[in-house]
């Protein structure tokens, strides 16, 4: 039964817009299925244009949005059956989110370690018996920070990259099996972006955490993900091994995304190759 960590079966989500007389149904996610195996951590990238339903799918996996039809099973538990705070905490213990803008995920008026300590307190019963501060420090060490560095600081005193690391450390305190990261690096500067992306790889390899990585950036998806899912207008149009899909896309939507992606490289002798002088 529990050989699947996450089993998404034919889920759909329809939003209804308008009032009594002008009802308009928007199908955000249309019969999507996906599976993550237990005990074999992987990074699954979900890619699509804006409005393709990738964020709605993530919110359904995080149990923040109830699907209109279909079932989601996490470790054998149906998400629809989760009720009460004990059930929710047990669920959050397994799945943790990371959001796009770290400056919005933290209250600007509170020191960042407060969130870490609160999270630790909430999951303390489940986690080991070490004191809160050492557990927080250990989580921060996993993301390349320490309590000494971030303790007593407010969110604006940290860079976007550091703050996103703190957000990841907070997620790690729950010792989750799955992290759902929605555009986690799109607000991060280029020079810091790759270190966050590398961190995901470390989490997978060293802590055995599966990661659902939602993005529109094909280059980072190619760089870290094992499997890839391309979404268009709520449906999955292509899926498979990340490298295979991105190097030889089959569906026209994937091809369109692939062609539209502006890669940071200069095509040989292109329009702007006016200064090709080599300096040694």
């Amino acid at each position: 039964m529990n050989d699947l960590l996450l089993d998404v079966r034919d889920v759909s989500k329809t939003f209804v817009r308008g009032g009594l007389f002008s009802r308009e149904e928007i199908v955000a996610v249309n019969k999507v299925s996906l599976q993550l195996a237990a005990g074999r951590p992987e990074i699954l990238a979900i890619i699509g244009e804006s409005g393709s339903g990738k964020t709605t799918l993530a919110r359904m996996i995080l149990n923040m949005v109830t699907p209109t039809s279909g079932r989601l099973l996490l470790d054998g538990t149906d998400l629809a059956a989760i009720s009460g705070s004990a059930g929710r905490i047990a669920f959050m213990h397994k799945v943790q989110p990371i959001f796009q803008n770290p400056f919005e995920s933290f209250n600007p008026l509170k020191r960042v370690e407060r969130y870490l300590l609160m999270t630790r307190r909430r999951f303390a019963a489940a986690a080991g018996g070490s004191t809160a501060a050492t557990a927080v420090d250990a989580a921060l060490h996993k993301v390349g920070l320490s309590l000494k560095e971030v303790g007593g600081r407010y969110p604006h005193e940290l860079s976007g990259g550091q703050l996103q690391r703190v957000a990841i450390a907070r997620a790690l305190l729950a010792e989750p099996k799955l992290i759902v990261a929605d555009e986690p690096v799109s607000m991060i500067d280029a020079s810091l972006r790759i270190s966050i992306v590398n961190l995901f790889r470390t989490l997978r390899d060293e802590l055995g955490i599966s990661i659902i990585y939602i993005t529109h950036d094909l280059a980072t998806a190619y760089y870290i993900s094992d499997r890839i899912l391309i979404m268009q207008k709520g449906s999955v149009v292509e899926s498979g091994d990340a490298r295979a899909v991105l190097t030889a896309p089959r569906h026209p939507c994937t091809r369109q995304l692939r062609e539209a992606a502006l890669l940071p490289q200069i095509a040989g002798g292109g329009a702007n190759a006016s200064g090709t002088t080599q300096v040694i």
């Binding site: 810091l192 590398n198 292109g270 002088t277």
Partner: protein, 343 residues
Amino acid sequence: MHASVEQPHGEQDVQPLLVVRDLQAYYRTSHAGVRRAIRAVDGVSFAVRRGEIYGLAGESSSGKTTLIKSIAGAIKPPLEIVGGSMEFAFLPGYGGLHRAPPAQVERIRWRHLSYIMQGSMNVLNPVRRIRCSFTDFAYPHIGGSRQQFEQQVVAHLSRVRLDPSVLSAFPHELSGGMRQRAALALATICRPGFIIADEPTTALDVVVQKEVLGMIRGIQRETGSSVLFVTHDMGVHAHITDRLAIMYAGRLVEEAATAEIFRNPLHPYTQNLIASLPRIGEDAPRAGLGGAPPNLADPPSGCRFHPRCPLAREICSREVPVMREAGAGHRVACFAVNGDDGA
């Protein structure tokens, strides 16, 4: 140190459209007698030639926005121009929009100088139809009869592949891509000589982004305008800009033809930036840059990159490296590249 700004460049050695010299723009605040200055732009010099797209790249809080605010003359306290000048070819003798009389500025805005911003919602008046935005901004500069003007607008909208019906729409009725194209049409209808594009496609979807970039390129080629193109997305720079300057902590660290920056970066920061970008088809692991971006209220002494620099030496923490020619049209500010006599 300004000698390298106006480099003769073959057939293009006509006067550049914009020459920025040693610009210093600080945010100065004074609370309860405690004075603080955030040195957001500190000694920046460059020139934008006629008919080129000049790219400016840098991370957040590297001073990109402050630099274009200063160039556009949008200087409000606590931002202050502390030193240096910005000379436009079409507004000679003032050393910047902020020093020119308001009547002059009014005359050149939209006609000679226009902007494409990240949030086009902020350019288009939300309570007026698109047609009114065109009449408000562009009609005073174009003149003629209303009918002629409308024809001109419709013809110009077709360049960005917009239907004339959008003129009757309100901004919120259009999609983000359409709105950005309408803003682009508005910014270019007077055929300005200089366009400031501040992250114009960052809020757009990848597919729409490529389309809008193609339109910016097309209009720029047609009108022969110069564009100052600011974005942190190196993929966009590789795609559209002719020359590229890299900004770090309020200073330019490197400037060269875009292809040259990507093929042969010299400054350690640029090298790291280019090497850290993942590319489809390349599997080699990439390393990020250690350390944190500097605090501009209290920047590191000497070269502002030295605490994170793998090549840092003793001189780097003492003296500020100046931009020096390291090859044809390739300027770099680094002691490790230029040698210790760089100052």
